[in-house]
């Protein structure tokens, strides 16, 4: 779950991290009112992807009339498939320097990593390539969190290659200790996988202000953050029901299915991520093109299988479905019941090829056979069969 800029900033502000004054506007009139109140503002499209500025989704305006006009233009935009639902109208900052402060998951160290750099304003991945010496990292103890001395080390290291900030270092470092502690609290209390301030603006008065914000919450922890999800939902879906995401993937989420929409015409259903990925690889190896990745997961019951088949067939491009099940925690009989129910209730006429083995495989295969669906035992054979059938259904 990716938060929008204004939502990230609300979370930062609640944690005591300074952000520029701003107002959310969902209409051009609200944007004009914000400009009336705040004066010169940047009108910024609220979409969950980068590159807004380049796409024309940010405008700096001096008057309420200008704000109304620009907001109307931006609110009518669609940025790389994401319709703009709202704009964030924010006062500008006097900038002495642009820094970077972010927290993300480091998969190799299996900890959160705090990253600080005096080279803010650009993508941190780019800094890592062009000037790796300007990036400093800290991997806090997950029980203790980052300690002030650790953050000081981080800050001094990140500032070491910025001579222009030398005479301001001591005040900057103490500000960063405070700010990093607060940002780490945001990251842990919200189960963030990414929690980033870029740029972190140093003003002439010496304040540190979050000029942009990125927050992504771990999907596995959504149950702990229902309020944030509810706030996000207001912007995700407009009156037209569009979210900007792939409509099939949106529908799959609604159904609670793990689904990735692809370009081909063979629906691929498997249990387990690795097996389902391998199912796609097999279809490709046999000259077919996967239409989707759908992992029914461990322990799927008949209803889930029925739901999955129905989901895959919503895509009119699909010419055949390959169901590849290796039972571990998933039981073959349950899968078979689901496939048979789906075929009969949904009147499926497109080719189905089922490959089933593992826990309760005999019962599952017997059920399928009795229902007139021939189960295959070898995955490559089944892949070849569905590719042939989808090409020539006769």
């Amino acid at each position: 779950m990716k938060l929008l800029e204004y939502q990230a900033k609300q979370q930062f502000a609640a944690a005591g991290i300074p952000v520029p004054p701003g107002r959310l506007a969902r209409t051009a009139d609200e944007a004009a009112a914000a400009a009336q109140e705040l004066g010169r503002v940047a009108v910024k499209a609220q979409v969950p992807i980068g590159g807004r500025g380049k796409a024309g989704g940010i405008a700096v305006v001096d008057t309420p009339d200008e704000a109304r006009r620009e907001a109307a233009r931006i609110l009518a935009m669609d940025i790389r498939g994401y319709p703009v639902r709202s704009v964030w109208c924010e006062t500008g900052l006097d900038i002495d320097a642009e820094l970077y402060l972010g927290i993300t998951l480091d998969r190799d160290r299996r900890r959160l990593v705090v990253i600080f750099s005096a080279a803010g304003g650009m993508e941190i991945e780019q800094v890592a390539v062009e000037a790796p010496e300007r990036i400093a990292k800290l991997w806090p103890d997950p029980f203790a969190g980052p300690q002030p001395w650790e953050i000081r080390e981080l800050a001094f290291a990140g500032l070491a290659h910025s001579p222009q900030l030398h005479d301001r270092t001591s005040k900057l470092v103490s500000g960063l200790v405070n700010l990093t502690t607060r940002l780490y609290n945001v990251a842990t209390s919200l189960d963030a996988l990414t929690c980033e301030i870029n740029p972190l603006v140093l003003t002439p008065e010496g304040s540190l202000v979050a000029a942009d914000g990125k927050l992504e919450i771990d999907e596995n922890a959504h149950y702990r953050h229902a309020a944030v999800a509810e706030e996000l939902a207001k912007d995700e879906t407009g009156d037209d029901g569009r979210t900007g995401d792939d409509p099939f993937e949106v529908e799959a989420r609604r159904r609670g299915l793990t689904y990735v929409h692809l370009d081909g015409d063979i629906g691929c259903i498997g249990n387990g991520a690795g097996l389902t990925m391998n199912t796609l690889d097999l279809v490709k190896q046999h000259g077919g093109d996967p239409a989707c990745f759908l992992d029914i997961g461990g322990g799927a019951n008949a209803e889930r299988v029925r739901n999955a088949l129905d989901m895959v067939l919503l895509d009119p491009k699909v010419r055949g479905v390959f169901i590849n099940v290796f039972g571990g925690i998933t039981r073959g009989d349950e899968v078979a019941h689901g496939i048979i129910a789906a075929r009969d209730e949904l009147h499926i006429t497109k080719p189905l090829v089922v490959r089933m083995t593992g826990t309760m495989e005999e019962e599952g295969r017997r059920l399928l056979q009795e229902a007139g669906i021939v189960p295959g035992k070898s995955a490559p054979e089944a892949a070849a069969a569905i590719v042939a059938l989808a090409r020539d259904p006769k």
């Binding site: 998951l105 998969r107 190799d108 299996r110 900890r111 959160l112 991945e125 103890d141 997950p142 029980f143 842990t188 189960d191 996988l193 771990d218 999907e219 596995n220 922890a221 149950y223 702990r224 793990t258 990735v260 692809l262 498997g270 249990n271 387990g272 991520a273 690795g274 097996l275 389902t276 990925m277 391998n278 796609l280 690889d281 097999l282 490709k284 190896q285 996967p290 990745f293 992992d295 997961g297 461990g298 322990g299 290796f326 039972g327 571990g328 925690i329 083995t357 593992g358 826990t359 995955a379 490559p380």
Partner: protein, 294 residues
């Protein structure tokens, strides 16, 4: 020989009364696993098909000398269950639960490290030493004893490999699922080291997938240590598009990190044989062992 578990393992199941916990406890016992206790807070003093149930792990250990645990509790409670297990002195905790928040796992993993015990998973299928001990959800009937060590991130692909090797007449010393989450306990090098130390393991099959760089780390470890047993590697997700999470929380190509090709290249350089299909895994393993596919 085997790694991590054998017929002497005394197994505790946390979450034994749940739907999956109870079904798979039955499967594990049918396999021959010595399940000595279950834990289900509030149900202490009862039993399930003769397995005594305790309220806490500490009580279960005191009463039964359990030394290995399998966890089947729901995601919100799983990290806590892992810590309870390690704190009680369980030497190997195997967490099957999928969907545990990443930050919970970061803490649970560190907690287990500090106890100097081991954690397998989470989001893993478990571990099997054929004819001796199974913890987790790997189907019973596919496992046969033999000279191959298996280590994999994906559960179902691990089953595929076990079954394929078995049909080809090659059994396993131990099959180990390390799980599909970005933060897990034992990782490829840890398990490879165990196989290095096990004289009966004569070849290793490594099952990786897109996302992260654990396969690259494994390749670097093989080169650094001069691991001299043949390795056959299978990587899934060659057709996966970047930026999409392919089912497993950890299976995502981010930027330039985590592609199947990068893993295949690293493992090839480390001397591993790369299999394109499960059938190839079987043929390549047989060739490395110098046996005929039966």
């Amino acid at each position: 020989m085997s790694v991590l578990v054998d017929r002497n393992s005394r197994v505790l199941i946390q979450g034994i009364t749940g739907r999956e916990g109870s079904f798979h406890t039955g499967q594990m016992r049918a396999f021959g696993t010595n399940v000595v206790a279950g834990v289900s807070p509030g149900k202490g003093g009862t039993n399930q098909d003769g397995v005594p149930i305790f309220d806490t792990v500490a009580e279960a250990i005191a009463a039964t000398d359990a030394d290995v645990s399998g966890i089947f509790v729901p995601p919100p409670f799983a990290a806590d269950a892992i810590m309870e297990s390690a704190a009680g002195g369980i030497r190997l905790t195997v967490c099957i639960t999928e969907g545990i928040p990443v930050q919970d796992m970061i803490r649970a993993r560190e907690f287990v490290l500090r106890t100097r015990h081991d954690l397998l998973g989470a989001n893993c299928p478990g571990i099997v030493t054929p004819e001796q001990c199974k913890i987790g959800i790997i189907p019973n009937h596919i496992n046969t004893p033999g000279p191959v060590g298996i280590v994999g991130r994906s559960g179902t692909l691990t089953y595929e490999v076990i079954q394929g090797l078995g049909q080809g007449g090659m059994g396993q010393t131990t099959s180990v699922g390390i799980g599909g989450d970005p933060v897990m306990g034992l990782s490829f090098p840890d398990v490879l080291q165990l196989f290095a130390d096990d004289p009966e393991t004569r070849a290793v099959v490594l099952i990786g997938e897109i996302g992260g760089s654990d396969e690259e780390t494994a390749a670097a470890w093989i080169r650094k240590t001069g691991f001299d047993k043949p390795v056959v590697a299978f990587i899934s997700g060659r057709t996966a598009p970047p930026g999409k999470r392919m089912g497993h929380a950890g299976a995502i190509i981010s930027g330039t990190t985590g592609s199947a090709q990068s893993k295949i290249d690293a493992l090839t350089e480390a001397g591993a044989a790369i299999a394109d299909t499960i059938e190839d895994v079987v043929l390549l393993t047989a060739a490395r062992l110098g046996t005929q596919v039966g």
